[in-house]
């Protein structure tokens, strides 16, 4: 078998960052190809530096490779110069470990981190000489699967995928790969594609799109997603597919000897996942719904894993990751112990996601001896009314007090995240963003003066556009139109006159595309294929984004992207993801929507009792190691 890394060798001096394509990093696992029953190629649809910063990759690398009969290798989207080279020299997409071409593996799996990576997926399939459409693949062809957060509505990609993993990959992926291995072993290394897919659909958590048929009425509205008869099974595919769940995070596998890249990647540090899931219950947040319930790792486990990470990586920073790290019930003890163990060796501790409260400042103060970096908070909305609508349980006074504490502790820069276009938003709420920023600046600057410090508090307001997401209480809500978004940003731009506030906003056009795909159905597949054909790649990289090509792709497909993005679904409508069960009761989502419109908050169930989202039950529930206290 060919090692394609040798074929690119003569050209490497002419391309940017060749190390992206060579592998060979510390802790790389190169297994004997012939000693395993199933070979898996993990495909990250973005560049190496982004993919290698992704903890999910490292977790799956460990989970799959620790199984003796399985092998996992990696591949990333080649940058445009490398793609040109591969096409010119007829070199296929290959795995970094063995240099084998993509089509040699038994299975290729894409992680769906965001909607703007979809053209990269199709481009990678094309570079791998893999038939694009699942229906075109035969028994000889590789199996194409996907997983990750956007798998919670994979419908726009469904016609390209043989199977989709719902829920937590470290539980399901090894099982899926073993099933492929066993299937082939029984058939002298050959695959009976249809039968294998039926076997996979039987695993639970594996969604096989070709076993379902969407039904539309004359007006083009989705009326049903019909399960079809499974080949050789004499029964239909399950009507609902339930996500795979990890009951206990504390005993779950965790990569304490992760790959350590040679070149600088986006997150160049140890990553320690301290808890999974979040029940703060922000109503726009998909992660807060699909990763439930909250499961913590114990302090002892975390300290042990941190120590192992240090020994095996040599990094000088450790990041305590999760959706909301200050919510870990033992965070204080954990941070304190880590500081004690690591400070002498100049290893810093970072907490990427903090809530706006006094406790966060205390924590940040403990870990941050250097005050160069800014403090970041996400009030998301400018008025209390709208914060109640979205269930962002932070009051203005709490935010201002937090700012005060932060400034007292020495910070002089604050970054605030907001969204425009949230359901029920009025211009008063938009104005509230500017007004809140001004109050933050005034309060902060006043504290600085009192402390005898020069200068003023600097605030960066970063304003993104609301994108309705599947499996959230706002999944039915339409997005603002482009005109409305533009008007809101224009208003804020001229409204914010204070030089101490700098205003940044996201491009509404990309947000519209995100909304279209986040809630889209299978009719969008052809648009993605056309956009890819027209050269769309790396759509999340501003300088690579080709808006005109996207517009043409939609026009040629006879679809109106604005209408799709701003469409409000009826509460009783069949949604493209109605058959995908993430454990969240649809009635809970409806209740939450109703409460949102009544401007009523739902408190975090960890501290204030169960709000019956439906996730806890015999399959597991909340796992907390300390006392639940809402600080």
């Amino acid at each position: 078998m060919n090692n394609w890394k040798q074929d690119i060798e003569p050209f490497l001096n002419d391309i940017s960052k060749p190390q992206r394509y060579l592998g060979g990093e510390l802790n790389e696992i190169v297994k004997d190809w012939t000693a395993v029953s199933c070979r898996f190629l993990f495909a990250f649809p973005d560049v190496y530096e982004v993919g290698m910063s992704h903890l999910g990759l490292q977790i799956l690398y460990e989970a799959v490779n620790q199984t003796p009969e399985l092998l996992m290798e990696r591949t990333f989207a080649p940058w445009t110069d490398m793609e040109a080279l591969l096409r010119r020299e007829s070199i296929p997409l290959f795995g970094l470990e063995s240099g084998r071409e993509a089509a040699d593996y038994d299975c290729i799996g894409f992680t769906l981190q965001h909607e703007m990576s979809y053209t990269n997926i199709l481009n990678m399939l094309s570079l791998g000489n893999i038939p694009l459409w699942a229906a075109e693949r035969g028994d000889e062809d590789i199996l194409v699967i996907a997983g990750g957060p956007c798998a919670s509505n994979p419908e726009p990609l469904a016609p390209f995928l043989d199977a989709v993993i719902l829920g937590e990959g470290e539980v399901l992926l090894p099982r899926l790969l073993q099933t492929i291995g066993n299937h082939k072993a029984c058939r002298g290394g050959k695959m009976d594609r249809k039968t294998l897919l039926a076997e996979l659909a039987g695993l639970g958590g594996v969604y096989v799109p070709s076993f379902y048929e969407p039904v539309y009425d004359a007006a083009g509205e989705l009326t049903a997603i019909m399960p079809l008869e499974m080949p050789g099974m004499e029964r239909k595919a399950p009507a609902m597919i339930k996500k795979a769940r990890l009951k206990d995070l504390d005993s779950a596998c965790f990569p304490t000897a992760p790959l350590v890249p040679y070149i600088e990647v986006v997150h160049d540090r140890m990553m320690l996942e301290i808890l999974r899931g979040c029940t703060r219950g922000c109503r726009f947040c998909q992660a807060g719904m699909i990763y439930r319930p909250v499961r913590e790792r114990s302090c002892e486990t975390l300290l042990r894993q941190a120590d192992a990470l240090k020994k095996h990586t040599g990094h000088n920073e450790i990041s305590l990751t999760s959706l909301s790290s200050s919510d870990h019930t033992c965070i204080k003890e954990l941070v304190h112990n880590l500081m004690e163990n690591f400070e002498g060796e100049q290893i810093s501790v970072s907490l990427p996601s903090l809530r706006a409260n006094h406790f966060s400042v205390e924590l940040a103060n403990e870990i941050q001896k250097v005050r160069k970096t800014g403090f970041t908070f996400a009030p998301e909305a400018g008025t209390q009314r709208l914060r109640d609508v979205i269930n962002k349980g932070v009051t203005e006074e709490a935010l201002l007090q937090t700012i005060e504490h932060a400034v007292q502790a020495g910070w002089s820069q604050v970054k605030l995240y907001f969204m425009v276009g949230l359901p029920t938003e009025t211009m008063e709420d938009v104005d509230g963003i500017a007004a809140l920023c001004e109050r933050v600046v005034r309060r902060g600057t006043q504290v600085m003066k009192e402390k005898g410090r020069f200068g003023a508090l600097k605030v960066t307001a970063s304003v993104s556009n609301f994108v309705p997401k599947a499996h959230t209480p706002f999944q039915w809500s339409g997005q603002d139109t482009q005109e409305v978004f533009k008007a809101k940003h224009a208003y804020l731009r001229q409204r914010i006159r204070d030089r101490r506030i700098s205003y940044h906003y996201h491009d509404p056009f990309t947000s519209m595309l995100e909304a279209v795909f986040a809630r889209g159905d299978r009719r969008l597949a052809v648009v993605i294929a056309k956009a890819t054909e027209k050269g769309c790649r790396f759509d999340s990289w501003t300088e690579q984004f080709k808006g005109e090509a996207w517009k043409t792709a939609f026009e040629e497909s006879g679809l109106d992207m604005q209408a799709l993005a701003s469409k409000t679904f009826h509460l009783t409508a069949i949604l493209p993801w109605s058959h995908l069960d993430y454990g969240i009761d649809p009635d809970f989502l409806k209740r939450e929507q109703a409460l949102a419109f009544k401007e009523t908050i739902t408190p975090d169930c960890r501290y204030h009792g169960c709000s019956r989202c439906g996730i806890c039950g015999p399959e597991g529930g909340l796992v907390l190691f300390g006392k639940a206290e809402d600080l």
Binding site: L12, N13, L26, Y262, Q346, V370
Partner: protein, 246 residues
């Protein structure tokens, strides 16, 4: 305690920039649990000093690094721990304790020997030899850096004094070139530049070079050259004077 490392930047690491290499080295030392000494101030970093940065795309057979430790450790144990902690891009060859005070590596190194291959298909060894003879016989060699559009032209520099010797020999269907180049603060030559000048003198077209390697770094003093540490100093001497022993 201060230690000096002699190490190799391997094939696997040839595309690392100097910054990548420095980061990789720091992590290696941390994995080996070397008690690194850190600089004072807001952003403390380990006290490490490299002999000379190596360009992207070039391997190095004998590279050097000095590291300061905050306490004494048994050098043999240290050597073993660091050797085991090295990633595929690096290989430890030798480790020695050196005096706390002493001239820095970068200030003492003033000569580098390079080796690379060129395709023997279109270029004849005799032409290369003739090119070498003519080039080294010249009293002056002027190098004009490429003028980039929109940039100020850089004045040409006289570089004959930067080339000590050059040799060529056949190797498995390739031509192997070796050259000793002076490293000075005023001017430095890259082996690829020497190859381009050589092609002009030899009257042939300069093909792409492959497998560029810096085989050693030397301190040249009173007409003698030796490595800052390691191996057999006489070898280095012969290497230096006779041009790779040919």
């Amino acid at each position: 305690m201060r230690i000096r490392l002699r190490y190799e930047k391997t094939e696997a690491g040839r595309f690392l920039s100097h910054l990548d290499l420095a980061r990789t080295m720091e992590r290696t030392l941390r994995r080996a649990e070397v008690p690194l000494a850190f600089s004072e101030g807001f952003n403390p970093h380990p006290k490490m000093s490299f002999a000379s940065a190596l360009a992207v795309g070039i391997t190095g057979e004998n590279e050097f690094l000095d590291v300061e430790l905050r306490r004494r450790v048994n050098p043999e144990k240290l050597e073993q721990a660091i050797r085991e902690a090295m990633p595929p891009a690096l290989k430890l060859k030798q480790l020695e304790e050196i005096p706390m005070q002493g001239k820095s590596l970068s200030a003492s190194i003033n000569l580098a020997v390079y080796r690379f291959l060129v395709s023997a298909g279109r270029i004849h060894e005799a032409d290369v030899r003739a090119g070498i003879d003519r080039m080294l016989a010249a009293a002056e060699l002027w190098r004009q850096p490429k003028i980039k559009p929109g940039k100020k032209p850089i004045p040409a520099k006289e570089v004959r004094g930067l080339i000590r010797w050059i040799t060529v020999s056949p190797e498995n269907g390739w031509l192997k070139l070796e050259m000793a180049l002076v490293m000075s603060n005023m001017a430095q030559l890259r082996p690829q530049e020497v190859w381009a000048m050589l092609a002009d003198f030899g009257g042939f077209e300069a093909d792409a070079v492959r497998q560029v390697c810096r085989t050693g770094l030397y301190i040249e003093e009173d007409g003698k050259a030796y490595m800052p540490m390691g191996g057999d100093h006489r070898d280095a001497q012969r290497d230096f004077n006779e041009g790779g022993g040919h």
